[in-house]
Amino acid sequence: MKDAFGAPQSLLVLGGTSEIGLATARRLVARRTRTVWLAGRPSPDLEAAAAALRGLRPETDAVTVRTVPFDALDPSAHEEALGKVFAEGDVDMVLLAFGVLGDQGRDEAAPLAAVRVAQTNYTGAVSAGLICANALRAQGHGSLVVLSSVAGERVRRANFIYGSSKAGLDAFAQGLGDALHGSGVHVMVVRPGFVRTRMTAGLTEAPMATTPEAVAHAIEQGLWRRSETVWVPGAMRLVMSALRHVPRTVFRRLPL
């Protein structure tokens, strides 16, 4: 159960090697979280991530960290994989953290690669999101935290494949939040700007770039306030609300 400050005791990270996902897990383990599920494609990285989380409280073996095979691109297996997690006990928080950036230039020329971006970021999230939402609804409590992106808020020419997948995800998550209103389940959409991670390594940094730790901090705050939308950094909200109104003829030419 979450405590009065929204700190969860159990956490399921979808996208178990996501840097933002793991930064959040570390932060929450430092508070109340004692059960963590890392869902992702089986890999040494996933196991290493689990071991690192366990290592945060080695003294007492106090945190239980388990991995579960999960592939966003294989929705037909989601029900069973995630069902197993919920069958083991309540999950106070689900963090939907998987996603791929793709390579805009290459993907424009290779539609099937673009489709994989869409299938991972959007279709995979629709499937996993609905399954988790139903399980949380049955519990009568819990938070579903969805990692969206400012890239979906106003889609740019430079990364519209990724951006549109996040736009779809963001809209889906908002609708899901409304659908779950009054069910005891809280849906929170997190919209970070440019986050310095492996995924963005080598890209030119956008202004107001942030870190996985900062996103994790914002998520913790959002849980506490029961926020529906969280921007990271917070000032991004103002920037985006201005950008939203820039006419397309101008927007197209902005050096973004």
Binding site: M1, K2, D3, A4, F5, G6, A7, Q9, R31, R32, A62, D90, A138, Q139, G140, H141, G182, S183, G184, W224, R225
Partner: protein
């Protein structure tokens, strides 16, 4: 369709008095013992929990995804023995109602908390204490018997001195649903209180005054200002007293000595600006309140409601804390651990928690309930807005101090304790868990509090 089903209300988010951590459950309002039994049978896999008037601050009377049995539909006073001072009533009867009915007969509830709006079931479930704990013990000590609906669907009459009695008093509803209880009352000559008030200039002065002559009063409590820093830390107003004897009444009041007339002000507004709870605003309030109190006054006649339940005059006062809600931190540390108390008070004062008046009281002997809160020592309770930055970690640190001194925090107020801290604080927890495992192996009775703390 049975009546229990027809009285199922649509699900809605449920919280405790502090309005934190809402969860959704099926609300069932049984109106008879049979309906209560049917509701327990129909609980389903996520179980059920009894709820009284929801005055526990945290998540004790909520049950995410399961059933919450609103017991206020079972509110009959079954019989009163006006000679022996015994009342038999349903668990959903409030202490307010008992006062209305019993005072004119010259009887008062044996223990009352800081609000009259709690049920008899809730009073037993949390084994509540009042300002008279140092002489009278907890509520459970005055219960002569209760009927308990257990997980197997049977109704058992439970008597003091048995394991089931001691597990249920303070057991936070987790042994079953209390349906009715027999309570021993206190005889009174009037409905007024004779009150002595004095000021203490700091915490040490306060502790000295309380220690010196608490035993001379049936009721004793100190309101303490935790925002005053430096030398004034812990300055306080002590109010102590007893039921006024008939002879103490002025002639006019003698005509109707047992009249019960609680005043009621308009409800607190639903929306309150955040600035109201800023440190300076709360500090100013505490300052004015301290100055208003007389330095020393004896034998003042006060209404029961003014003495025991000043906050009940403002319905929904919990709304002043806004959307984030608030937590109450109440702990006890034993006599001889005054250093821990001083340290905690200093830490709270230094941190500047915008807390309206905290309450300090001395407890008497511990009570037999396995999870009962009181133990001989000092108990301090304070309200803090849940939106205060870093509060979670700060209270964890206080827990360490409390547990390290052999003390504990009160579950009826709790919404944030760590399960491992609970184990240290309540040494009889293993007995409680064993009894529960035997009595209710499928955990029919469970609550958000139980899930959070592994009860």
């Amino acid at each position: 369709m049975s009546d229990a089903e027809t009285s199922t209300e649509p699900a809605g988010p449920v919280t405790g008095w502090g309005r934190t951590a809402p969860s959704v459950a099926r609300l069932v309002r049984p109106r008879s013992y049979e309906e209560a039994a049917a509701a327990v049978r129909a609980c389903g896999t996520r179980g059920g929990i009894a709820r009284g008037l929801g005055r526990a601050y945290g998540d004790a009377a909520q049950n995410a995804g399961g059933a919450v049995l609103d017991m206020t539909g079972l509110a009959r006073i079954r019989s009163i023995d006006a000679d022996a001072g015994l009342v038999v009533c349903d668990a959903g009867v409030s202490l307010h109602r008992l006062m209305e009915v019993l005072l004119p007969l010259g009887w008062f509830v044996p223990v009352t908390p800081g609000t009259r709006y709690v049920t008899v079931g809730g009073a037993i479930g949390a084994d509540i204490h009042g300002k008279n704990h140092h002489v009278s013990g907890s509520f459970g000590r005055h219960v002569r018997a209760f009927d308990l609906l257990t997980a197997d669907g049977t109704i058992r009459t439970v008597l003091p001195g048995t394991d089931l009695f001691d597990a249920t008093t303070g057991g936070m509803g987790l042994t079953g649903v209390i349906l009715s209880a027999t309570v021993q009352l206190l005889p009174v000559e009037t409905s007024l209180m004779s009150v002595d008030t004095e000021r203490a200039t700091d915490l040490d002065d306060l502790m000295a005054r309380l220690t010196a002559n608490d035993h001379g009063y049936r009721y004793s409590v100190a309101w303490i200002d935790l925002l005053a820093r430096g030398a004034a830390t812990g300055r306080a107003v002590l109010t102590r007293g007893d039921h006024a004897p008939y002879d103490a009444l002025p002639r006019r009041a003698r005509r109707d000595p047992l009249a019960f007339r609680p005043g009621r002000l308009p409800a607190a507004p639903a929306f309150v600006p955040d600035g109201l709870l800023s440190r300076p605003a709360v500090g100013l309030f505490n300052e004015l309140w301290y100055r208003r109190a007389p330095r020393h006054r004896t034998g003042e006649l006060q209404r029961l409601s003014a003495f025991f339940h000043p906050l009940d005059g403002v319905p929904h006062w919990n709304r002043v804390y806004g959307r984030a809600g608030f937590v109450q931190y109440q702990f006890v540390v034993g006599y001889g651990r005054e250093d821990t108390l001083r340290r905690i008070v200093r830490r709270i004062a230094r941190r500047g928690c915008p807390s309206f008046l905290a309450v300090l009281k001395r407890f008497g002997e511990g009570d037999p309930g396995w999870l009962s809160f009181p133990m001989p020592g000092w108990t301090l309770a304070l309200d803090i807005p849940a939106g205060l930055t870093g509060l979670g970690a700060f209270l964890d640190e206080l827990d360490e101090e409390v547990a390290g001194a052999g003390g504990r925090v009160y579950l009826a107020k709790d919404s944030r304790l760590r399960p491992d801290a609970l184990r240290v604080m309540y040494p009889r927890l293993p007995d409680f868990l064993d009894l529960r495992a035997e009595l209710d192996p499928r955990a029919v009775f469970t609550s958000d509090l139980a899930r959070r703390l592994g009860l």
